[in-house]
Symmetry: C2
Subunit: 133 residues, 2 copies
DNA sequence: GTCTTAACTTGACTCGTTCCAGATAAGAGC
DNA sequence: GCTCTTATCTGGAACGAGTCAAGTTAAGAC
């Protein structure tokens, strides 16, 4: 149950957060705006700030993941822990999941990393979605 | 020469653009702010808008590439055409180039692309730079 | 030297996000 | 159940990055 996931993550169970987590499950890759809209339909008036706070709390608790393709506002998804990747449509911004062949981070390692210690490889595929083709 | 590259790209040769292209060569992955600063030192007073316009023109002409790691303002570089990738420091945002084994786009192809036509795979390695370790 | 128009300036404005101070309510402990 | 702590929420101001628009300047074709 949604409430249990919140409790298990050490978060308080509130109307806004329940609605947000459900919205997040229902529409992956939604923007903060989309999510705030969904939350307000489900839970009545909720401040935008509360949505931002909750999303940050979810990410910190490992319940959600923050994705941010270039030129797009932040998007969130509850599919965490499998280090999958994304395809983004250049035309409309639609985003879809792409499974990672490796599954665990960093999944790819550069041969020459300039002294950086790499812990994650984030792959974003750019292209055109079926509808925009 | 810098002026020839502008001319070859079909762009007019102006003080701001010469200075910008030089700044871009000198400091890859610089932000618009950094670049505007460098341009003003080299070419006197130049509006921020002119820098944005010129950068957009450079990108459109293939002289520069636009990079935008999550949570960071836009960065630009003149290394174009070899589809290389980047390592970004989570702590300080420092960015370095990482050669792409394949070299040409899309360089990686997802096995399941959800109907998207993929033309580029952008890889961002996240980690910690030598100085922040 | 003229003339067209790319390039520049100035300034207002949007968007996504963050910061703050104070009010509210979840849930631990009695 | 009642209290109390503090996580969470509210409202509103503020911010950085970037865009838009109208008018001026100057590069370079002729």
């Amino acid at each position: 149950m949604t409430a249990d996931r919140l409790r298990a993550a050490g978060l308080r169970v509130t109307r806004p957060r329940l609605a947000l987590l459900d919205a997040l499950d229902a529409s992956p890759h939604a923007t903060v705006d989309d999510l705030a809209g969904a939350v307000r339909i489900a839970a009545g008036s909720v401040s935008t700030q509360a949505v931002y706070d909750a999303l940050e709390a979810f990410v910190a608790a490992g319940l959600a993941r923050h994705v941010e393709p270039a030129g797009s506002p932040a998007r969130f998804e509850t599919r965490v822990g499998d280090n999958h990747h994304h395809v983004v449509c250049r035309a409309c911004g639609a985003t879809a999941d792409v499974d990672c062949a490796v599954g665990r981070r960093p999944c790819l390692t550069p041969k020459e990393s300039n002294g950086f210690v790499v812990d994650e490889a984030e792959v974003t595929y750019w292209g055109t979605c079926p509808r925009c083709q």
